[in-house]
Symmetry: C2
Subunit: 279 residues, 2 copies
């Protein structure tokens, strides 16, 4: 991996790297914020998964997370949202909700997507292993967080790997890709028509099947334009109740789907993760 940008920020270092990903079979960028504490000892790490159309850079520039990461002594790792490059196939119509910028954090099984679109393995395995070798991170203390498609990614990844993450949180997550147009299109395209394969990538299904319990925090804006049709928080509320899986799901009056919503509550999320990551 090669460092391409560095900016000092809240006493720490905001870094951007490029590397050749074996799992995704393409060159990728990702961003890392190292808090001041990383100068003297390995620090815990919070993975951030972004939503549709984003790269690693949106969160870095717009969320205002660094000040809270500096305070908690937690590194922030932001991967891109899909494989990238001229030979990576995209949605035939160039739609924003499939293909480039829309990897949905799954391992595609359908051609032509299955060659590059393996964001699940990239986020769970390849990226942490790469970072552990190169940066002062303690991957034994990891949390995961995300927004929208990335909230879905954070939740399914943590629920499928409760031994790897101490805490998980989400802003306006797609709660059930089985039950929304974004999910139908993405999982249908990447995983094929057998909906049983989708269930392994659906937060509500995973919550119902879970045997372990992770600390979970979800924030959802009540003025979010995607809430009713795409995000469907009520399905997560129901699954959580049915499975007796305790989680904090907060409804925030007046907030929409934007980074202004994320910025308003990212401090709460960093404090939430900090209490588990700094144990």
């Amino acid at each position: 991996m090669k460092q391409v940008v560095e900016n000092k920020c809240f006493g720490g270092r905001q870094l951007r790297f490029t590397h050749s990903s074996e799992v995704l079979d393409c060159d990728m960028h990702f961003s890392v914020y190292l808090p001041p504490r990383a100068e003297t000892a390995p620090v815990p790490v919070l993975y951030w998964l972004s939503g549709l159309t984003c790269t690693d850079e949106n969160f870095v520039a717009k969320a205002g997370a660094q000040q809270f990461a500096a305070r908690e002594g937690v590194a922030l790792v932001a991967p891109d949202t899909s494989p990238r490059g001229a030979d990576v196939p995209d949605d035939p119509a160039g739609a924003y909700d499939f293909g480039l910028g829309a990897g949905f954090y799954v391992n595609a099984t359908e051609p032509p997507w299955n060659r590059h679109y393996r964001m699940y393995d990239y986020v769970v395995d390849e990226l942490p292993a790469l970072l552990a070798r190169a940066l002062p991170l303690d991957n034994g203390r990891a949390g995961i967080c995300g927004h929208s498609m990335g909230g879905h990614g954070a939740l399914i990844i943590a629920l499928k790997n409760p031994d790897r993450y101490r805490s998980v949180s989400a802003f306006a997550p797609i709660c059930s890709p089985l039950n929304c147009p974004w999910g139908e299109k993405a999982l249908g395209g990447y995983l094929g028509t057998d909906r049983r394969q989708w269930e392994a990538n659906d937060t509500t299904a995973l919550v119902r099947a879970a045997t372990e319990r992770l600390p979970i925090l979800v924030d959802q804006g009540e003025a979010d334009e995607f809430l009713a049709e795409q995000l469907r928080t009520e399905l997560l509320v129901a699954a959580s109740a049915e499975a007796q899986y305790p989680m904090e799901i907060r409804r925030q009056p007046g907030y929409d789907h934007s980074y202004f919503f994320i910025a308003s509550f990212i401090g709460d999320h960093l404090r939430f993760h900090g209490q588990y990551l700094n144990k």
Copy 2:
């Protein structure tokens, strides 16, 4: 003026407006953050002037200022950095440091610039008058702040109007356009070759001539790539000492010219202004 965007942010309202500017003879956009306190009473206002290439939107998305404005109960007003539109002349070579995105907060006297490029009058007179009619702002309690070209703008505007602003601060300001390539090009183009006209728009000259004293805070990153040639903080330090004009000029080791630098210290600036605006 017409509202075109609204996002809830830290309990307040992040707004964007468009209007037809008489002074600039074109349509303009600007952004306003209203803190929660504005729901019940007029609030003081902090004007933010951006740097080269920016619009009103960079500061809004990247500085993370809203949380501190919410805490201080201060509105943030961010104008654009130049007149805009198809009939507004631009640098003939399309350079980033003259013409569109580079108004330098002066009133141009040279054709063809003098028809539209009157950002000084726009920021000092037209915009505050417009806002006073439409929003719950108390312009009797105003401060001004900016970055780079906008730091220059904030300083010259406050120094020329000490009765209008209670406090002024700047991030990495162009301290003396009389003595740097950016300033030579911009003031030469907008104001012509008589350098005596430039002095009325040069912070170091205005500090030397000042009869009143405003609270001034300046932050300058020591790793700023423009410091030595364009910003020249040492000339402001010298002018301040020579004129016995007290101001706090802080050098921040390791910080560059980016919004990561601004974000790291915007909280300090809001607290600085807050103590004068909430008196």
